[in-house]
């Protein structure tokens, strides 16, 4: 006989342990069974989230108010966990916080599989996950921030009030935007300088006896570095175990679809080789060519001739937009012949 009520409560408590913070370092992979449908949905939704992170990051200054508002909206529409405590009342008909965190956890690991294979994919994934992490960490209350640090073994001590007092002037002059009052109010963390290299390198922090004195609001930089290092290592390891995963026929098509769906900004010309036909050139020259090339094309058509420099410029441009060698030969020959140059000589001109 089932006692659904009680059972739910029991499951609830072990769930609480697993996802007791809305943010995590993704240290442990999920250990449960899920359906293929859920697998796919989670992955696609996280990908949407990361794409949004990228787009918003390009359109707005990172961590500005607009940036945060836009990102928050996306989080709620996609049902990813943000700030709420576990154990909040379940929104009527909505998804519980627990469910959101579970999705966050699982979807991250699925995307690791899809994005570990090449340097470009890894770089893109790490960049978006870092921006995402930075945003979410920034939204935490100071207490939650400290909780997070302790839970993840970043046991950085806070600086005692007496020490802060004795170092007050030095602390004020070493970080931008600090005053006597803020130094007193804020927590400062003592972090070994090896863990705060970005701040050390730019001399934005006070150093004493090998420790960097980091104000609370800067601790995110340290945490991010840690996050990046861990994720980078994890992706490298994942790449090595990938062949096993890819041999599963159910997953293979989904994973390759995911990684091809988006690889970030792509400026490589290769991707844009359409096959243009010779007939298209005249039309395209009016519509899509840059002015310099349009001019060259016009001159060529009018005079049936171009000087060496012009041929070189224009020829390379045509190659760049996708003209094949045969087409190019044909094109130049047809034009120059009109200019009463021997077809044979045309070959020498190119």
């Amino acid at each position: 006989m089932q006692f659904p009520g009680r059972r739910k409560k029991l499951i609830g408590s072990s769930q609480n342990d697993l996802y007791d913070h809305c943010l995590q370092f993704y240290g442990q992979p999920p250990l449960e069974n899920i359906s293929l449908a859920e697998f796919e949905t989670f992955a696609v939704e996280r990908l949407k989230l990361l794409k949004t992170v990228e787009n918003i990051g390009v359109s707005y200054v990172k961590n500005s108010d607009q940036y945060s508002k836009k990102l928050e909206a996306e989080f709620s529409s996609l049902n990813f966990p943000l700030k709420t405590e576990l154990g909040d009342r379940k929104v009527q008909g909505g998804i519980s916080e627990y469910e959101k965190r579970r999705k966050d956890h699982i979807s991250h690991f699925i995307l690791r599989l899809a994005y570990c294979q090449t340097e470009d994919l890894r770089r893109w994934f790490i960049q978006q996950e870092m921006d995402l992490f930075r945003y979410r960490f920034g939204e935490l209350t100071p207490k939650h921030k400290t909780d997070f640090l302790h839970k993840n073994n970043l046991k950085y001590e806070t600086v005692s009030a007496e020490e802060k007092k004795s170092l007050k002037d030095k602390l004020i002059t070493s970080s931008y935007g600090l005053s006597g009052i803020t130094v007193e109010e804020y927590d400062f963390y003592k972090v070994p300088f090896q863990d705060a290299l970005d701040l050390v390198r730019t001399r934005k922090v006070y150093l004493l006896a090998g420790n960097a004195y980091i104000p609370h609001h800067e601790i995110v930089t340290i945490v991010l570095n840690d996050f990046r290092t861990r994720l980078s290592k994890a992706l490298a390891m994942t790449a090595r175990s990938l062949p096993v995963v890819q041999s599963d026929e159910r997953l293979q098509p989904l994973l390759s679809h995911l990684s091809h769906a988006y690889v970030g900004q792509d400026y490589s010309i290769q991707k844009n080789i359409g096959k243009i036909s010779l007939e298209q050139i005249d039309a395209l020259s009016g519509k899509s060519f840059p002015l310099c090339m349009r001019h060259l094309h016009k001159a060529l058509r009018e005079n049936h001739h171009l000087r060496h420099g012009g041929r070189m410029q224009y020829g390379l441009f045509l190659k760049g937009i996708g003209l094949t060698l045969e087409q190019a030969l044909q094109f130049w020959r047809s034009e120059f012949v009109k200019g009463k140059v021997d077809a044979d000589k045309v070959r020498l001109l190119l």
Binding site: S174, Q194, D198, V200, R203, Y206, G210
Partner: protein, 425 residues
């Protein structure tokens, strides 16, 4: 102190003598073994030798002190460089699967070279140095030593004269030897204030807030600046050097000074006027301080590091106690307690110490015979120790030994701490 005239042509004769009887092998080995705490630390260390006719060989490694001695005596290197401690014996690096032979640890090192200051010193240029510009090295050592100890918490620093025109610093702490490339580069950048190549005119820019490190460094520079720059280098003397200084100032101050300098020829008064004008400007401008006078002092005096030397874990640097083939001088450790009186021209040359070796000593005891009964290596060892003690090298070896003993004490302290933690009484 009379120095025998050094002639590079004599090196082939002097070097073998140096390596047989004077090079402090036992202390050297003791240094690079670091107490034997890590297995194979000495065995996996890379050395590189430059032999006669500029033949350069890398990936030299040795299993014992004895092997090091024998090889050096056999190969007679003109130059010796020390590299990193690798994952395997460097001499066998070809036998190791490609990709697995890696540089693991090395001291954090700094190289200050006088040629990097050529744009701000007028007494010498290129490879030359003199007592006037040597002050730059003194300033560099004081600033960097303080920062590495107080800011970064390092304790075991060995400062060495390079033999010609600069100094090196070997930071030998455990933590320093384990630093990553990123960490080394971060330390070097933290310590860098003079930026910009030949093209840059203004190489130091300060803005509020002034970091405590910069303030500490400024107080060192200020101690030396007037004597060094205004008097010795005479930077406000000739028109040429005055122009260089004025180029670092904003137009209004420049104009004022140009007029003032037409009348006032005394360099110290000229400098004072410059400072007064900068001070005035600072208080009249509301936005953050302008620190033109401090920037000038730093541009003329602040240490110029080559970040690339410090960055690489596998970078090879000239070894202490090696000879500089062009000058014959020995790369000796510098005693920071005597820094103010250190004179690079008093550093012994190989010809001097070889000559000192040959001088018979009246008080030389005859108890050699007694000691012959002991095993040959020890006897040779003792003879060698007696040998260098008779030469000008002695006091520098003493500095080195003090450095080694400080490290040994610190290691002992660490071990005690560890065993205490493990409740191992």
């Amino acid at each position: 102190m009379p120095t025998s005239d050094y002639d590079p042509a004599c090196l082939p004769d002097l070097l073998p003598l140096y390596y047989r009887r004077l090079f402090p092998f036992s202390h050297y080995y003791r240094w690079l073994s670091y107490g034997g705490v890590s297995k194979n630390y000495f065995q996996n260390r890379e050395f590189s030798f430059t032999l006669k006719d500029d033949i350069y060989v890398r990936y030299q490694s040795f299993t014992t002190q004895n092997e090091l001695e024998k090889e050096m005596q056999k190969m007679v290197p003109y130059k010796i460089d020390i590299g990193a401690v690798y994952s395997h014996r460097p001499s066998q690096h070809n036998a190791v699967k490609s990709g697995t032979f890696q540089a693991l640890e090395k001291e954090l090192v700094f190289d200050i070279d006088m040629t990097d200051y050529d744009d701000v010193r007028c007494c010498c240029s290129a490879a030359d140095i003199c007592s006037k510009c040597w002050t730059l090295m003194t300033i560099a050592i004081r600033i960097l030593d303080r920062a590495l100890r107080e800011d970064f918490g390092f304790h075991h620093l060995l400062w060495v004269y390079s033999g010609r025109r600069g100094v090196h610093c070997w930071v030998c702490d455990d933590a320093a030897r384990k630093l990553s490339v990123a960490a080394r580069s971060a330390v070097a950048e933290y310590l860098s204030l003079v930026k910009g190549g030949e093209e840059a005119v203004r190489k130091v820019v300060l803005s509020d807030p002034i970091h405590p490190f910069i303030n500490h460094s400024l107080s060192v520079v200020e101690r030396y600046f007037r004597q060094y720059a205004i008097v010795d280098q005479d930077i406000l003397g000739s028109k040429e050097s005055v122009d260089k200084v004025l180029a670092l100032l904003p137009d209004d101050i420049k104009k004022d000074l140009t007029i003032y300098y037409q009348e006032e020829k005394n360099p110290m008064k000229r400098w004072e006027r410059l400072c007064t004008l900068v001070e005035h400007k600072k208080s009249s401008v509301k936005k953050g301080g302008q620190y033109f006078d401090k920037e000038i002092m730093l541009q003329y005096c602040y240490p110029r590091l080559d970040v690339n030397v410090s960055k690489g874990v596998n970078h090879l640097l000239k070894s202490p106690f090696s000879i500089h083939p062009k000058t014959g001088r020995i790369s000796v450790p510098i005693d920071l307690k005597e820094l103010n009186t250190f004179d690079p021209f008093e550093v012994p040359t190989i010809s001097l110490i070889c000559e000192e070796l040959e001088r018979p000593r009246a008080d030389e005891a005859e108890d050699d015979d007694l000691k012959d009964k002991e095993n040959e290596q020890e006897a040779g060892e003792r003879r060698r120790i007696r040998d260098y003690k008779r030469t000008s090298l002695a006091k520098y070896v003493k500095v080195f030994v003090r450095f080694l003993e400080a490290m040994a004490r610190s290691r002992k302290g660490e071990m005690l701490k560890k065993s205490d933690l493990q409740k191992d009484f």
